[in-house]
Amino acid sequence: MMRADDYRVVKQELAGLQVNVTSYKIGDSYHCHIDNIDPGATIARTEGLTREEAELAALARALERLKARHGNR
């Protein structure tokens, strides 16, 4: 039976925003997704062989997307 093992949510700041870093293992892979707490949109979703690998890839992708954000002009 497959299920999400080692489910973990960590709050941290990324590019000045509060984000949730959620990670867990399904089957042989670790999955990670990052969402901004307000309003709660998923910014990045990645997969890796270890939690660290999945989280690092997600953080890098999220940072890239957040740097590209624009404010009101």
């Binding site: 497959m2 399904i26 997704h33 307000d38 990045a44 404010g71």
Partner: protein, 281 residues
């Protein structure tokens, strides 16, 4: 303890685990992030893509009657099926699907409280296998847009003291500091909000584990901002999905009689030439 006004529209993860093999129950996962389903989903659940399957892909509109009938039939859903919706981001797009299905008069549609987040966090079974479902001959019995607000209606009603406009986006989107949630594409020319709208971010309705707050807590949140059941309430966000979540809360959990979702939302209003806009908190 006070219960929700329509408790039958909400089921727990435990309930879904117990009933997921029932022949008259179909589960559908609808995620904001459409790749989440393939990571692993509830065994037997079909996956619906909101970008291609729950809207008109040519003009901007909700799913057409014929496309909905096809989607439901292909998913093995009959007119009397109990349909359970769940998804990521505390059920954003599960609520979007629920809203459309209620306009198309599907009788028994429910949302799994806590959504995908809670199911995974509780370590319940998931699979990557796609379900094989027998096609049904689904027919929409009635279509009624009573739960939907269009731009013209918002323009007509925005100044009425009997109308409560609820902007469910984040504080920064409401104030005009941001045009879209961080990390998502910009899709409007101007930032701010519809004049008179109260800012009550959708996420205030949820607990940390993704479940809905208690009726007492919900009532305090909305009534505290003047959004009461005696008013005609119109909720909006950026593209209408977060506001369908708030619509669900007000209409079904709190039982407000007159609630509509303005799905044109800020991507329509914030692009209109000459539309009145307010900025600031």
């Amino acid at each position: 303890m006070q219960s929700y006004s329509n408790p039958e529209v909400l089921v727990s993860t435990e309930w879904v685990d117990l009933h997921r093999s029932d022949p008259n129950v179909v589960i559908a996962e609808v995620d904001v992030d459409t790749s989440a389903y393939s990571e692993g989903h509830i065994p037997g659940a079909v996956g619906w893509n909101w970008q291609t399957q729950l809207c008109d892909v040519v003009r901007r509109d909700i799913i057409s009657q014929s496309d909905l009938e096809r989607l439901m039939s292909n998913s093995g859903i009959g007119n009397t099926t109990t349909l359970i919706l769940y998804g990521d981001n505390n059920n954003w797009f599960a609520a979007w699907a629920f809203w459309q299905l209620k306009m198309y008069s599907h009788k028994d549609v429910r949302i799994m409280n806590g959504g995908r987040k809670r199911w995974l966090a509780e370590g319940r079974e998931v699979t990557r296998e796609l379900p094989a479902r027998t096609k049904s001959g689904y027919k929409v019995l009635k279509y009624d847009q009573m739960f939907r607000a269009f731009r013209r209606q918002v323009e007509d009603e925005m100044k009425s003291p009997q109308t409560a406009l609820v902007d469910v986006r984040s504080g920064d989107e409401y104030s005009g500091t941001l045009l879209a949630p961080p990390g998502l594409p910009e899709t409007c020319q101007r930032g701010g909000h519809i004049p008179g709208a109260k800012n009550i971010p959708w996420g205030l309705a949820c607990n940390e584990d993704g479940t809905f707050k208690s009726p007492q807590e919900l009532e305090a949140i909305y009534a505290g901002k003047g959004v009461t059941s005696d008013k005609s309430v119109i909720a909006y966000c950026r593209i209408g999905e977060r506001s369908s979540h708030t619509w669900f809360v007000l209409k079904y959990l709190l039982g407000y009689p007159n609630v509509r979702n303005y799905d044109g939302s800020w991507t329509e209003w914030g692009n209109l030439v000459g539309a009145p806009v307010e900025r600031g908190a």
